[in-house]
Protein backbone atom coordinates (compact mmCIF):
# COMPACT_ATOMS: atom_id res chain seq x y z
CA UNK A 1 0.00 0.00 0.00
CA UNK A 2 1.28 3.47 -0.71
CA UNK A 3 0.01 7.00 -0.70
CA UNK A 4 0.83 9.92 -2.88
CA UNK A 5 -0.14 13.53 -3.28
CA UNK A 6 -1.65 14.82 -6.51
CA UNK A 7 -0.20 17.79 -8.34
CA UNK A 8 -1.68 21.22 -7.71
CA UNK A 9 -1.99 23.18 -10.96
CA UNK A 10 -2.63 26.87 -11.32
CA UNK A 11 -6.00 27.59 -12.86
CA UNK A 12 -6.93 30.39 -15.29
CA UNK A 13 -9.77 32.75 -14.39
CA UNK A 14 -11.92 31.58 -17.31
CA UNK A 15 -11.31 28.52 -19.48
CA UNK A 16 -12.84 27.29 -22.73
CA UNK A 17 -14.88 24.79 -20.75
CA UNK A 18 -16.31 27.65 -18.68
CA UNK A 19 -17.74 29.11 -21.90
CA UNK A 20 -19.46 25.79 -22.66
CA UNK A 21 -20.85 25.74 -19.14
CA UNK A 22 -22.06 29.35 -19.56
CA UNK A 23 -23.86 28.61 -22.82
CA UNK A 24 -25.33 25.44 -21.35
CA UNK A 25 -26.54 26.89 -18.07
CA UNK A 26 -27.65 30.18 -19.66
CA UNK A 27 -29.28 30.36 -23.09
CA UNK A 28 -29.68 26.62 -23.64
CA UNK A 29 -31.28 26.08 -20.28
CA UNK A 30 -33.61 29.01 -20.91
CA UNK A 31 -34.61 27.60 -24.30
CA UNK A 32 -35.24 24.22 -22.71
CA UNK A 33 -37.55 25.83 -20.17
CA UNK A 34 -39.74 27.57 -22.73
CA UNK A 35 -39.83 25.12 -25.64
CA UNK A 36 -41.66 21.79 -25.67
CA UNK A 37 -39.04 19.06 -25.08
CA UNK A 38 -39.24 17.51 -28.55
CA UNK A 39 -39.05 20.94 -30.20
CA UNK A 40 -36.04 21.82 -28.05
CA UNK A 41 -34.23 18.65 -29.10
CA UNK A 42 -35.08 19.22 -32.78
CA UNK A 43 -33.90 22.84 -32.69
CA UNK A 44 -30.68 22.02 -30.88
CA UNK A 45 -29.85 18.87 -32.88
CA UNK A 46 -27.29 20.73 -35.06
CA UNK A 47 -25.39 21.63 -31.89
CA UNK A 48 -24.25 18.03 -31.60
CA UNK A 49 -22.41 18.30 -34.93
CA UNK A 50 -21.10 21.74 -33.96
CA UNK A 51 -19.82 20.37 -30.68
CA UNK A 52 -18.18 17.44 -32.47
CA UNK A 53 -16.44 19.90 -34.81
CA UNK A 54 -14.84 21.63 -31.83
CA UNK A 55 -13.66 18.37 -30.31
CA UNK A 56 -11.04 17.23 -32.82
CA UNK A 57 -8.36 16.86 -30.18
CA UNK A 58 -10.67 14.98 -27.87
CA UNK A 59 -11.74 12.60 -30.63
CA UNK A 60 -8.07 11.98 -31.41
CA UNK A 61 -7.32 11.27 -27.74
CA UNK A 62 -10.27 8.89 -27.47
CA UNK A 63 -9.26 7.15 -30.68
CA UNK A 64 -5.73 6.63 -29.39
CA UNK A 65 -6.97 5.32 -26.04
CA UNK A 66 -9.57 3.02 -27.62
CA UNK A 67 -7.10 1.68 -30.16
CA UNK A 68 -4.82 0.61 -27.34
CA UNK A 69 -7.68 -0.94 -25.38
CA UNK A 70 -9.33 -2.62 -28.37
CA UNK A 71 -6.43 -3.81 -30.56
CA UNK A 72 -8.69 -6.34 -32.27
CA UNK A 73 -10.80 -3.55 -33.84
CA UNK A 74 -10.09 -1.95 -37.19
CA UNK A 75 -8.83 1.64 -36.88
CA UNK A 76 -11.75 3.09 -38.88
CA UNK A 77 -14.17 1.33 -36.54
CA UNK A 78 -12.33 2.69 -33.54
CA UNK A 79 -12.50 6.19 -34.95
CA UNK A 80 -16.25 5.86 -35.44
CA UNK A 81 -16.56 4.78 -31.78
CA UNK A 82 -14.60 7.88 -30.73
CA UNK A 83 -16.82 10.19 -32.81
CA UNK A 84 -20.00 8.55 -31.51
CA UNK A 85 -18.69 8.81 -27.98
CA UNK A 86 -18.22 12.58 -28.29
CA UNK A 87 -21.62 12.98 -29.93
CA UNK A 88 -23.18 10.86 -27.20
CA UNK A 89 -21.92 13.30 -24.60
CA UNK A 90 -23.55 16.26 -26.39
CA UNK A 91 -26.81 14.40 -27.02
CA UNK A 92 -27.08 13.37 -23.41
CA UNK A 93 -26.31 16.91 -22.21
CA UNK A 94 -29.11 18.34 -24.37
CA UNK A 95 -31.58 15.64 -23.34
CA UNK A 96 -30.74 16.30 -19.69
CA UNK A 97 -32.13 19.81 -19.99
CA UNK A 98 -35.58 18.42 -20.77
CA UNK A 99 -35.15 14.99 -19.18
CA UNK A 100 -37.96 15.19 -16.64
CA UNK A 101 -40.42 16.70 -19.13
CA UNK A 102 -39.50 14.39 -21.95
CA UNK A 103 -42.35 11.96 -22.35
CA UNK A 104 -40.82 8.66 -23.36
CA UNK A 105 -43.28 6.08 -24.46
CA UNK A 106 -43.06 2.66 -22.78
CA UNK A 107 -41.70 1.10 -25.97
CA UNK A 108 -38.77 3.51 -26.12
CA UNK A 109 -36.87 1.27 -23.75
CA UNK A 110 -36.34 -2.45 -23.53
CA UNK A 111 -35.75 -3.91 -20.11
CA UNK A 112 -34.09 -7.31 -19.77
CA UNK A 113 -33.87 -9.28 -16.54
CA UNK A 114 -36.57 -7.49 -14.59
CA UNK A 115 -37.51 -10.86 -13.05
CA UNK A 116 -33.94 -11.21 -11.72
CA UNK A 117 -34.20 -7.83 -10.08
CA UNK A 118 -37.60 -8.59 -8.55
CA UNK A 119 -36.29 -11.91 -7.19
CA UNK A 120 -33.40 -10.17 -5.49
CA UNK A 121 -35.73 -7.56 -4.01
CA UNK A 122 -38.07 -10.28 -2.71
CA UNK A 123 -35.37 -11.16 -0.15
CA UNK A 124 -36.17 -7.83 1.52
CA UNK A 125 -32.56 -6.74 1.97
CA UNK A 126 -32.52 -4.11 -0.73
CA UNK A 127 -30.29 -4.37 -3.76
CA UNK A 128 -26.98 -2.82 -4.71
CA UNK A 129 -26.63 -2.37 -8.44
CA UNK A 130 -23.33 -1.60 -10.03
CA UNK A 131 -22.75 -0.22 -13.47
CA UNK A 132 -20.31 2.02 -15.26
CA UNK A 133 -20.76 5.55 -16.52
CA UNK A 134 -22.85 4.98 -19.65
CA UNK A 135 -24.69 7.67 -21.58
CA UNK A 136 -28.02 5.85 -21.28
CA UNK A 137 -28.02 5.79 -17.45
CA UNK A 138 -30.18 8.84 -16.81
CA UNK A 139 -32.75 7.99 -19.51
CA UNK A 140 -32.86 4.41 -18.23
CA UNK A 141 -33.44 5.47 -14.65
CA UNK A 142 -36.29 7.79 -15.64
CA UNK A 143 -37.88 4.99 -17.67
CA UNK A 144 -37.62 2.45 -14.84
CA UNK A 145 -39.22 4.87 -12.41
CA UNK A 146 -41.98 6.01 -14.72
CA UNK A 147 -43.04 2.72 -16.25
CA UNK A 148 -41.94 0.00 -13.84
CA UNK A 149 -42.15 1.87 -10.55
CA UNK A 150 -38.50 1.03 -9.81
CA UNK A 151 -36.74 3.92 -8.14
CA UNK A 152 -32.97 3.71 -8.25
CA UNK A 153 -31.14 5.88 -5.77
CA UNK A 154 -28.13 7.35 -7.47
CA UNK A 155 -24.84 7.39 -5.63
CA UNK A 156 -22.75 10.31 -6.78
CA UNK A 157 -19.43 11.83 -5.82
CA UNK A 158 -20.67 15.42 -5.85
CA UNK A 159 -19.14 18.16 -7.94
CA UNK A 160 -17.72 17.00 -11.28
CA UNK A 161 -13.91 16.75 -11.41
CA UNK A 162 -12.48 20.29 -11.65
CA UNK A 163 -10.17 19.58 -14.59
CA UNK A 164 -10.11 22.21 -17.33
CA UNK A 165 -12.48 24.62 -15.63
CA UNK A 166 -11.28 28.10 -14.70
CA UNK A 167 -11.57 29.70 -11.29
CA UNK A 168 -14.83 31.34 -12.35
CA UNK A 169 -16.22 28.00 -13.48
CA UNK A 170 -15.11 26.27 -10.31
CA UNK A 171 -16.62 28.96 -8.11
CA UNK A 172 -19.95 29.59 -9.87
CA UNK A 173 -20.65 27.36 -12.86
CA UNK A 174 -19.84 23.92 -11.52
CA UNK A 175 -21.91 24.39 -8.34
CA UNK A 176 -24.79 25.56 -10.52
CA UNK A 177 -24.41 22.50 -12.74
CA UNK A 178 -24.19 20.31 -9.66
CA UNK A 179 -27.51 21.66 -8.37
CA UNK A 180 -29.05 20.98 -11.76
CA UNK A 181 -27.71 17.43 -11.72
CA UNK A 182 -29.20 16.87 -8.26
CA UNK A 183 -32.53 18.08 -9.57
CA UNK A 184 -32.40 15.65 -12.51
CA UNK A 185 -31.25 12.70 -10.48
CA UNK A 186 -33.77 13.31 -7.73
CA UNK A 187 -33.22 11.01 -4.80
CA UNK A 188 -29.46 10.69 -4.56
CA UNK A 189 -26.77 9.92 -2.04
CA UNK A 190 -23.74 12.15 -2.23
CA UNK A 191 -20.43 10.58 -1.34
CA UNK A 192 -19.01 13.96 -0.38
CA UNK A 193 -21.09 13.58 2.80
CA UNK A 194 -18.39 11.20 3.93
CA UNK A 195 -19.82 10.36 7.33
CA UNK A 196 -23.47 10.13 6.36
CA UNK A 197 -23.29 8.52 2.93
CA UNK A 198 -22.73 4.90 4.10
CA UNK A 199 -25.50 5.26 6.71
CA UNK A 200 -27.85 6.70 4.09
CA UNK A 201 -27.03 3.73 1.89
CA UNK A 202 -27.82 1.36 4.74
CA UNK A 203 -31.09 3.18 5.35
CA UNK A 204 -32.05 2.86 1.68
CA UNK A 205 -31.26 -0.87 1.73
CA UNK A 206 -33.23 -1.37 4.95
CA UNK A 207 -36.22 0.15 3.18
CA UNK A 208 -35.69 -2.55 0.52
CA UNK A 209 -34.51 0.15 -1.86
CA UNK A 210 -32.20 -0.07 -4.84
CA UNK A 211 -28.95 1.85 -4.86
CA UNK A 212 -27.11 2.38 -8.10
CA UNK A 213 -23.33 2.65 -7.75
CA UNK A 214 -20.63 3.19 -10.35
CA UNK A 215 -17.71 0.79 -10.43
CA UNK A 216 -15.62 3.11 -12.59
CA UNK A 217 -15.68 6.09 -10.22
CA UNK A 218 -12.04 7.12 -10.31
CA UNK A 219 -12.03 9.72 -7.57
CA UNK A 220 -12.27 7.27 -4.72
CA UNK A 221 -9.67 7.50 -1.96
CA UNK A 222 -9.37 3.75 -1.53
CA UNK A 223 -8.40 2.27 -4.86
CA UNK A 224 -7.28 -1.14 -6.06
CA UNK A 225 -5.23 -2.10 -9.03
CA UNK A 226 -7.17 -4.46 -11.30
CA UNK A 227 -6.56 -5.80 -14.81
CA UNK A 228 -8.79 -3.89 -17.22
CA UNK A 229 -8.40 -3.77 -21.00
CA UNK A 230 -4.92 -5.37 -21.00
CA UNK A 231 -3.55 -3.06 -18.33
CA UNK A 232 -3.64 -2.37 -14.60
CA UNK A 233 -6.18 0.32 -13.73
CA UNK A 234 -7.51 1.63 -10.45
CA UNK A 235 -10.97 0.84 -9.10
CA UNK A 236 -12.66 1.77 -5.83
CA UNK A 237 -13.07 -0.84 -3.11
CA UNK A 238 -15.91 0.96 -1.33
CA UNK A 239 -18.66 -0.82 -3.25
CA UNK A 240 -17.50 -4.19 -1.95
CA UNK A 241 -17.16 -2.75 1.55
CA UNK A 242 -20.82 -1.86 1.38
CA UNK A 243 -21.76 -5.37 0.22
CA UNK A 244 -19.56 -7.00 2.86
CA UNK A 245 -20.88 -4.95 5.77
CA UNK A 246 -24.58 -4.84 4.88
CA UNK A 247 -24.89 -8.31 3.33
CA UNK A 248 -27.17 -6.87 0.63
CA UNK A 249 -27.32 -8.64 -2.74
CA UNK A 250 -25.29 -7.23 -5.61
CA UNK A 251 -26.03 -7.27 -9.33
CA UNK A 252 -24.84 -5.54 -12.46
CA UNK A 253 -27.04 -3.29 -14.57
CA UNK A 254 -26.30 -1.86 -18.01
CA UNK A 255 -27.89 1.26 -19.45
CA UNK A 256 -27.27 1.53 -23.16
CA UNK A 257 -28.62 4.08 -25.58
CA UNK A 258 -28.73 3.94 -29.36
CA UNK A 259 -28.44 7.74 -29.66
CA UNK A 260 -31.87 7.92 -31.28
CA UNK A 261 -33.96 7.89 -28.13
CA UNK A 262 -34.02 4.13 -27.62
CA UNK A 263 -32.65 2.83 -24.32
CA UNK A 264 -31.76 -0.72 -23.35
CA UNK A 265 -31.68 -1.61 -19.67
CA UNK A 266 -30.22 -5.00 -18.79
CA UNK A 267 -30.24 -6.42 -15.26
CA UNK A 268 -27.75 -9.23 -14.83
CA UNK A 269 -28.01 -12.23 -12.58
CA UNK A 270 -27.03 -11.62 -9.01
CA UNK A 271 -23.24 -11.53 -8.69
CA UNK A 272 -21.90 -14.51 -6.77
CA UNK A 273 -19.15 -13.40 -4.45
CA UNK A 274 -16.42 -15.32 -2.74
CA UNK A 275 -16.88 -14.81 0.98
CA UNK A 276 -13.80 -14.43 3.13
CA UNK A 277 -13.51 -12.87 6.55
CA UNK A 278 -10.64 -10.49 5.91
CA UNK A 279 -11.70 -7.20 4.33
CA UNK A 280 -8.71 -6.76 2.02
CA UNK A 281 -8.82 -10.37 0.92
CA UNK A 282 -12.55 -10.07 0.20
CA UNK A 283 -11.95 -7.11 -2.09
CA UNK A 284 -8.87 -8.65 -3.70
CA UNK A 285 -10.77 -11.80 -4.61
CA UNK A 286 -14.00 -10.22 -5.81
CA UNK A 287 -13.18 -6.88 -7.38
CA UNK A 288 -11.48 -8.39 -10.48
CA UNK A 289 -14.68 -10.32 -11.20
CA UNK A 290 -16.83 -7.18 -11.13
CA UNK A 291 -14.32 -5.31 -13.26
CA UNK A 292 -14.29 -8.15 -15.80
CA UNK A 293 -18.10 -7.98 -16.02
CA UNK A 294 -17.93 -4.24 -16.63
CA UNK A 295 -15.25 -4.70 -19.27
CA UNK A 296 -17.44 -7.21 -21.11
CA UNK A 297 -20.29 -4.68 -21.26
CA UNK A 298 -17.99 -1.93 -22.51
CA UNK A 299 -16.49 -4.21 -25.15
CA UNK A 300 -19.96 -4.90 -26.55
CA UNK A 301 -20.78 -1.17 -26.86
CA UNK A 302 -17.54 0.82 -26.65
CA UNK A 303 -19.06 4.05 -27.95
CA UNK A 304 -21.45 4.17 -24.98
CA UNK A 305 -18.96 4.32 -22.15
CA UNK A 306 -18.18 7.78 -20.78
CA UNK A 307 -15.09 6.49 -19.05
CA UNK A 308 -12.82 6.56 -22.13
CA UNK A 309 -12.10 10.21 -21.40
CA UNK A 310 -10.84 9.23 -17.94
CA UNK A 311 -9.14 6.02 -19.05
CA UNK A 312 -5.60 7.33 -18.80
CA UNK A 313 -6.38 8.80 -15.41
CA UNK A 314 -7.40 5.42 -14.07
CA UNK A 315 -3.76 4.52 -13.58
CA UNK A 316 -2.98 6.86 -10.68
CA UNK A 317 -4.95 8.40 -7.82
CA UNK A 318 -5.61 12.09 -8.43
CA UNK A 319 -5.48 13.13 -4.82
CA UNK A 320 -4.20 11.66 -1.62
CA UNK A 321 -5.33 8.08 -1.78
CA UNK A 322 -4.29 4.56 -0.99
CA UNK A 323 -3.57 2.12 -3.73
CA UNK A 324 -3.52 -1.64 -3.39
CA UNK A 325 -3.08 -4.54 -5.68
CA UNK A 326 -5.48 -7.45 -6.19
CA UNK A 327 -2.57 -9.66 -7.30
CA UNK A 328 -1.72 -10.63 -3.71
Amino acid sequence: MRTRLGKVRSRPLVSGLDLFYLAYLGPLRLMAAVLPPRAFLAVTRPLTAAYRATQGRRIETLRRVMEKALPECDSSVVRSYAVKNVEGFAERALEDLVRRRLIHSPDQASVEGEDLLRQALAEGRGLILFSGHFYGSRAGRVHLERYLGLRLRAVRRGLPPPRNVGRFGRRFLQPSYDRLLSHWLGDEILLRDRRDAPLQLLRALRENGIVNTQLDAIDSRDVWKVRFFHDDRLFPGGLLDLVRVTGAPLAQVDFLSDGAGQVRVRFHERTRLEHVEDRDEFIARNLPRLVAQLEATIRADPDQWEGWGEFDRMIAPRELGSERSTDA
Binding site: R195, P198, L199, L202, R203, D241, L242, V245, T246
Partner: protein, 85 residues
Protein backbone atom coordinates in the same frame (compact mmCIF):
# COMPACT_ATOMS: atom_id res chain seq x y z
CA UNK B 1 -22.58 -8.53 32.52
CA UNK B 2 -20.84 -5.26 31.52
CA UNK B 3 -22.89 -2.13 31.33
CA UNK B 4 -24.41 -1.11 27.98
CA UNK B 5 -22.11 1.87 27.51
CA UNK B 6 -19.10 -0.35 28.20
CA UNK B 7 -20.25 -2.89 25.66
CA UNK B 8 -20.81 -0.13 23.11
CA UNK B 9 -17.22 1.00 23.57
CA UNK B 10 -15.99 -2.56 23.17
CA UNK B 11 -17.93 -2.88 19.89
CA UNK B 12 -16.37 0.40 18.80
CA UNK B 13 -12.91 -0.89 19.62
CA UNK B 14 -13.42 -4.21 17.86
CA UNK B 15 -15.31 -3.05 14.78
CA UNK B 16 -12.85 -0.24 14.13
CA UNK B 17 -9.86 -2.36 15.19
CA UNK B 18 -8.73 0.39 17.54
CA UNK B 19 -5.48 0.05 19.36
CA UNK B 20 -6.46 1.86 22.58
CA UNK B 21 -6.45 0.88 26.23
CA UNK B 22 -9.81 0.35 27.93
CA UNK B 23 -9.12 3.26 30.28
CA UNK B 24 -8.63 5.58 27.32
CA UNK B 25 -11.73 4.19 25.64
CA UNK B 26 -13.84 5.19 28.65
CA UNK B 27 -12.91 8.81 27.97
CA UNK B 28 -14.23 8.73 24.42
CA UNK B 29 -17.56 10.55 24.27
CA UNK B 30 -18.04 10.81 20.54
CA UNK B 31 -16.92 8.58 17.69
CA UNK B 32 -15.66 11.74 15.95
CA UNK B 33 -13.02 12.01 18.70
CA UNK B 34 -11.19 9.14 17.04
CA UNK B 35 -8.77 10.01 14.34
CA UNK B 36 -8.49 8.16 11.06
CA UNK B 37 -12.10 7.07 10.89
CA UNK B 38 -12.91 6.17 7.29
CA UNK B 39 -16.32 6.48 5.71
CA UNK B 40 -17.28 2.84 6.11
CA UNK B 41 -16.24 2.70 9.78
CA UNK B 42 -19.50 4.13 11.13
CA UNK B 43 -21.38 1.53 9.15
CA UNK B 44 -19.22 -1.25 10.61
CA UNK B 45 -19.84 0.18 14.05
CA UNK B 46 -23.63 0.25 13.61
CA UNK B 47 -23.72 -3.31 12.28
CA UNK B 48 -21.49 -4.40 15.18
CA UNK B 49 -23.90 -2.82 17.69
CA UNK B 50 -26.86 -4.53 16.09
CA UNK B 51 -25.14 -7.90 16.38
CA UNK B 52 -24.00 -7.30 19.94
CA UNK B 53 -27.40 -6.20 21.28
CA UNK B 54 -29.69 -8.05 18.86
CA UNK B 55 -31.49 -4.84 17.90
CA UNK B 56 -32.12 -3.15 14.56
CA UNK B 57 -31.70 0.60 14.41
CA UNK B 58 -34.74 2.62 13.41
CA UNK B 59 -34.07 4.05 9.94
CA UNK B 60 -34.32 7.63 11.20
CA UNK B 61 -31.52 6.87 13.69
CA UNK B 62 -29.10 6.01 10.89
CA UNK B 63 -27.52 9.39 11.04
CA UNK B 64 -23.88 10.18 11.74
CA UNK B 65 -24.71 12.77 14.37
CA UNK B 66 -26.78 10.31 16.38
CA UNK B 67 -24.46 7.35 15.89
CA UNK B 68 -21.41 9.37 16.98
CA UNK B 69 -22.80 10.23 20.41
CA UNK B 70 -21.88 7.26 22.62
CA UNK B 71 -23.98 8.32 25.63
CA UNK B 72 -26.99 8.92 23.41
CA UNK B 73 -26.44 5.52 21.85
CA UNK B 74 -26.33 3.87 25.27
CA UNK B 75 -29.67 5.49 26.18
CA UNK B 76 -31.18 4.36 22.89
CA UNK B 77 -29.94 0.77 23.25
CA UNK B 78 -31.20 0.56 26.84
CA UNK B 79 -34.57 1.84 25.69
CA UNK B 80 -34.69 -0.75 22.92
CA UNK B 81 -33.75 -3.50 25.33
CA UNK B 82 -36.34 -2.33 27.83
CA UNK B 83 -33.68 -1.70 30.47
CA UNK B 84 -34.00 1.10 33.02
CA UNK B 85 -31.75 4.17 32.68
Amino acid sequence: MPEVSERIRQVLKESLKLNVADDELKEVKRVDDLLGLDSIALLEFVMGLEREFGVTFDPERLDSEFVSDLDGLARYVRERLGEPE
